[in-house]
């Protein structure tokens, strides 16, 4: 297991390096930051001065090396647009995205798993069939459209929920949370649904497919033949076995939740890192973009790692070496 963990760790670092390189090289093409920084009334001398200040006059490998050097220390430089350390800006914005992702993920997992089980156990029932059909509408509608429609219905027409932002937040010093105020809780509903809906349908469909597969296996038949209750068979035996493959997919879905947050945050003006990233693209704020992509990669890689470790926890067959030795 240790060897496995080390190997995965090593692979993860390579992934991060490659992502870093790709992301960094991308930024050389999205536009010249100097122009957007200097505004209309600038002289060519200004441009040259700033280029040198930013180190943009240096060759590409040098820039990348410097970037990596800083990144290791958590130092991604200073945002061109806000003029503050990128790490600080990200630290400010991250809670918003994480809270949104957390609520959406919880919604997606709870409803996805529950509906998946329901539709698997009651397959061919009318309720299950209706849910399955509706879920297809869910995956056939782009996220941005769902967000706009939700705003239109619940904020504009009905006026029940707020249309944008996080509401009032409470600053805990190291974390600005929207969970402690009424307006904060109300504000998270629509974006969380928007963000979570697609993942929920995916999780639901995967849970259903896996569950149907598992319900066909011999050990489930045997469990039933032993007279175990429906509950024990469905939830004790079938669910746990279903969860093994579902965990991978769900893990990856949580990764995509953070990435898909870009769209949701744009639509709902949610002040998280996704919105920060889109703004950074508009303003060619390279340090922010680089940090964001690195952050996302680190998250994906850690989620992958956690998923692998969860496998160990849930599937004894993988623990072979430990128990035998």
């Amino acid at each position: 297991m240790l060897a496995f963990a080390i190997r995965r760790m090593f692979q993860s670092i390579i992934v991060l390096l490659v992502v870093g390189l790709v992301a960094f090289s991308m930024f050389n093409f999205v536009g010249d930051p100097v122009d957007s920084m200097l505004g209309q009334e600038r002289t060519d001398a200004d441009v040259e001065r700033v280029r040198i200040q930013l180190g943009l006059d240096q060759p590409f490998p040098v820039q990348y090396y410097k970037f990596l050097q800083g990144a290791v220390k958590g130092n991604f430089g200073i945002s061109y647009r806000q003029g503050r350390p990128v790490s600080q800006i990200i630290a400010e914005r991250l809670p918003a995205t994480l809270e949104l992702a957390f609520v959406s993920a919880v919604l997606a997992i709870i409803f996805g798993v529950a509906l998946g089980i329901f539709t698997a156990i009651r397959r061919n029932g009318w309720a299950a069939n209706t849910i399955m059909s509706l879920s297809l509408i869910g995956v056939s509608l782009p996220t941005f459209l769902i967000g706009i429609l939700l705003i239109y219905i619940f904020a504009v027409e009905l006026g029940w929920l707020s249309s944008f932002g996080r509401g009032d937040v409470v600053d805990l010093g190291w974390w600005r949370t929207g969970f402690l105020t009424k307006s904060g809780l109300l504000a998270i509903i629509l974006p969380a649904i928007t963000l979570g809906l697609y993942q929920m349908t995916l999780i639901m469909r995967i849970v259903r497919a896996e569950m149907l597969e598992v319900l066909r296996t011999d050990y489930i038949k045997f469990a039933r033949a032993r007279g175990l209750s429906k509950r024990a068979v469905n939830f004790g035996h079938a669910l746990k076995n279903t969860m093994v493959p579902v965990i991978t997919v769900t893990g990856m879905q949580i990764g995509s939740i953070i990435a898909f947050a870009i769209i949701t945050e744009t639509v709902f003006q949610w002040p998280g890192v996704g919105l920060l990233f889109i703004n950074a693209i508009r303003f060619v704020d390279i340090p922010i973009m680089a940090a964001y992509l690195m952050l996302i990669s680190v998250m994906f890689v850690s989620i992958n790692l956690i998923v692998d470790l969860l496998y160990f926890a849930i599937d004894p067959r993988l623990r072979l070496d430990k128990t035998k030795g």
């Binding site: 093409f29 297809l136 056939s140 509608l141 782009p142 459209l145």
Partner: protein, 309 residues
């Protein structure tokens, strides 16, 4: 002679596959919807009332005409109204769907070719090449298509001459979406290859010093056809949605040649102002297209029942 043909047709219609199709109203309806949409798009140049991609035919004063109501300035009437540029929404949807479908089909074909070949190579050659390909697949899976597309878009822009960027946008979409879909194909094909590789005929061919690759392909492809078809159908729906999302974010089809996603992006700005038709009709079309393809994929999955993970 005629009888024989008739017999053949009869037998074909009675085969399991078609039988299940004939008895699934959902499959029939979604097939008809999808076919209508695809044909409607492909044949658009022959019957669409306007060519929205030819700017010389546009009259800006026709802009924002409501469906079936004469325009207040020009008096012209449009079935589904016009958009902000005076383009006939009906024609624009048809032409936009051509782009969406082209991107979708091309992306899926690309993903399929890439995935099937890499899957074959990984399964057949094995060893470090297999490990490498499957690791790349894992990494690929962790990165959502949208981010991949944005990355490719950013890079491709740097290398494309300015006058080819319109075409480039379409190809970048195809490559980006294709790249985020190939993994599924590769996994299925690799699995089938691993099983088939150890069978006697392949081993025998190897022992005889013959190249077994060709035999292998001939045996594996029919086995995975069902799975590949199902994945391809579902990928097509995904690709259409992905194209719409990317175009919505502005990294997609150019506004002068709008795809369904671009149209929705344009229409979204007019949701509150009463010009609902610019958003609604393309959105409904997109939904109908994606939904019918998804339903077909779902039905195919049940009908062909391939072992899919």
């Amino acid at each position: 002679m005629f009888n024989k043909i008739h017999d053949n047709i009869f037998r074909a219609l009675n085969s399991d596959f078609l039988y299940s199709f004939k008895h699934s109203p959902v499959a029939i309806v979604s097939f008809i919807v999808a076919l209508t949409l695809v044909l409607g798009a492909v044949l658009a140049p022959f019957y669409a009332p306007h060519n929205p991609f030819d700017p010389a035919t546009l009259n800006l004063m026709n802009g924002f005409s409501a469906p079936m109501k004469p325009n207040e300035f020009t008096g012209e009437t449009f079935l589904l109204g016009t958009d902000d540029q005076g383009r006939d929404v009906f024609s624009t949807i048809l032409y936009g769907m051509r782009i969406s479908l082209f991107v979708g089909f091309a992306a899926v074909t690309f993903a399929m070719v890439l995935g099937v070949s890499l899957g074959l190579i990984a399964g057949y050659v094995g060893g470090w090449l297999d490990a490498l390909i499957m690791r790349i697949a894992d990494v690929q899976l962790t990165f959502p298509g949208i981010l991949v597309a944005m990355l490719i878009f950013g890079i491709a822009k740097g290398f494309t001459p300015i006058d080819q960027r319109d075409q480039m946008a379409i190809w970048v979409l195809i490559i980006a979406i294709g790249l985020s879909e190939w993994v599924q194909f590769a996994r299925v094909v690799r699995g089938a290859t691993l099983v088939e590789k150890n069978k006697e005929y392949v081993q025998a061919a190897r022992l005889n010093g013959r190249r077994s690759g060709g035999i292998l392909i001939g045996h594996i492809l029919p086995n995975v056809l069902g799975s590949v078809l199902v994945i391809a159908t579902i990928s097509l729906a995904l690709a259409i949605i992905a194209e719409a999302t990317l175009s919505f974010l502005g990294v997609g089809a150019p506004p002068t040649k709008p795809s369904l996603g671009t149209l929705i992006r344009i229409g979204q700005g007019y949701l509150f102002s009463g010009e609902w038709w610019i958003l609604l009709f393309p959105a409904v079309t997109l939904l109908a297209l994606a939904l019918s393809v998804n339903l077909l994929g779902d039905w195919l999955r049940d009908a062909l029942n391939p072992k899919l993970k």
